[in-house]
Subunit: 138 residues, 2 copies
């Protein structure tokens, strides 16, 4: 996408808490490093955007097209019950969109994944195997 | 919008837990009956939609345009710190989009509003006054 901002850089906390997966036209896609849920994070490469309405309409449409496409594929891969899509950002202000797969009986179901307990980082091979699989379908 | 589904009906739990505010082209806008946060809920009038990706692309764009427009105005009205926009639906499956105003020190900040504690219904006049104010700007 020609209007991606070259001054954009990934927030350091997002970089620490997630693993690079792929790069779509507008958004970087990352896997949250938390094995409790299949949880992806899309980060539009637009500098200084904090809210969805900080994006221009075409960027917002691209971001949501990518988030819903990723959500639909994540649901197919995980056979989950419900995809949760959210732009929250109360802690990390750089605009990012969560796409998480949820199912009955998972950690904190049916309450949200955010702000619950402590992340359980993937074991070495598991995160990379999941990333390779998701990368092949996105 | 011509493609709004005439067979759509509001989910009974959404109806019980929120108050009618206004009707946009695609979505009904409701005020969550919970005075802990300024919290709106947009419900696309599309039958059988549970996920954002159940909407056709034009409907998804309309829903997100309306949600971000409502979010931007809610932020202006409340002078909040952050707008949270989310399609979760783990409990009520009818597609609905939360738009909530958050600020440092509010209930459960910076953790999410969903699944936290018990709703505090508006006192009689307060909910209607807020609805009247929001209706005048949406």
């Amino acid at each position: 996408m020609s209007d991606v901002d070259k001054t954009w850089a990934l927030d350091p906390r997002l970089e620490t808490d997630s693993l690079a997966l792929t790069s779509l036209e507008l958004c970087d896609v990352r896997l949250a490093n938390d094995a409790r849920w299949p949880w992806l994070i899309l980060v539009p490469r637009v500098a200084n955007a904090e809210e969805l309405f900080d994006l221009r309409p075409g960027q917002r449409e691209a971001a949501m097209q990518e988030a819903t496409m990723v959500g639909e594929k994540l649901k197919a891969v995980t056979s989950c019950e419900k995809i949760n899509i959210a732009a929250i950002g109360n802690v990390v202000r750089q605009l990012h969109i969560h796409v998480a797969a949820r199912a009955t009986g998972d950690e904190n179901w049916p309450r949200p994944i955010w702000g619950h307990g402590t992340a359980q980082p993937y074991e070495a091979g598991h995160g990379q195997a999941l990333i390779a699989h998701l990368r092949s379908i996105l």
